[in-house]
Symmetry: C2
Subunit: 192 residues, 2 copies
Amino acid sequence: MSPAAEPVADKPSRREQILAAAAELFARHGFHGVGIDDIGSAVGISGPALYRHFRSKDAMLGEMLTSISEVLLDGGQSRVGAARSPHDTLGDLVRFHVDFALDNPALITVQERNLGNLTDPDRRKVRGLQRRYVELWVEVVRSAVPETEEPTARAQAHAVFGLINSTPHSRHLDRAQMADLLTGMALAALVQ
Amino acid sequence: MSPAAEPVADKPSRREQILAAAAELFARHGFHGVGIDDIGSAVGISGPALYRHFRSKDAMLGEMLTSISEVLLDGGQSRVGAARSPHDTLGDLVRFHVDFALDNPALITVQERNLGNLTDPDRRKVRGLQRRYVELWVEVVRSAVPETEEPTARAQAHAVFGLINSTPHSRHLDRAQMADLLTGMALAALVQ
DNA sequence: CCATCCGGTTAGTCACCGCTAACCCCCTAC
DNA sequence: GTAGGGGGTTAGCGGTGACTAACCGGATGG
């Protein structure tokens, strides 16, 4: 499948370029609202040339979403790995997610809107990664606020994702202010 | 779904039925991912019979989204109309939106995902209604927390919508608990 | 210096989708 | 008892979209 899962990322090339353009388009028009030709011309090549890089349109979405989910899970785990106070860990986790959302609005949008357009195996994979990411949040929330029940913590995590991921829909503050605002709101919502 | 939700209006009929089914499908698969035949068979009729009730597939989405936006705006305005303390008004507004989201998960999902699939005139109309709803929130937030700048309040409103509208993605608490949780989180995020 | 292959091109195929056409009940009002 | 219309049916048309086929230029390494 993936020709090489490179640790060293000295590859800024095509594939990535195509995925970025596709993400932008999927975010704006939805998966089925975007044609192969649209994606092609967005990167300066035209139409079927994409099949030199991806097996299918579904494969593009699949790779896009799995890689997002992996980045989130890895980043989350590394934040939790750094042993600090539960409350600080929660702060780090929130900040990490906020930064990711602010830096990758199109990806975040695609992830929350287009999960249903994945192939069955891809969806299973992405769902699995997302579930583990949520579990991470649940544990961190519950160790920062111990009296929280598990289902409540899960619901809180989803709600906070919704809050943070709303970022693409409002662009009236600059990046730094927005990051602070969202972080503050998320933490307030979690610890009340 | 519930045939007798109506206070007086004894018209639960077709159109509404079709819109409800279409909302469900649009929410799950996206506008372009749903065919005319899918919608038809979801209400027991098949395919082109829908054109006895709507001029086009676009018209279905248009009517769906404008009616949602109108319901939200009207409901919001009536909550604000009842003169109470700024803080109570904010609480009412939050609770109103939470209730709507919990009672209409499919509609909420379609509204936030499929704005981009609207016809240009429809989109303008819906955008206008949404803008007025946001302005309502901005004013209520600013009168409850006067030191808030306007752009900040706008960003907060969007973020809170994201939080509340995340509802369809998590179903592990019952309706009442979920309503209380979301209301509490939203208010905490707003007043900090 | 040539073989190869990587990454592009255009033309074409096939399925599907929105929508129209033509037809067909009932049910109701006169 | 029949006229009419609201709401349903199936067949089919035109357009579009994903993908394949066949071809091609140029860099590269043996």
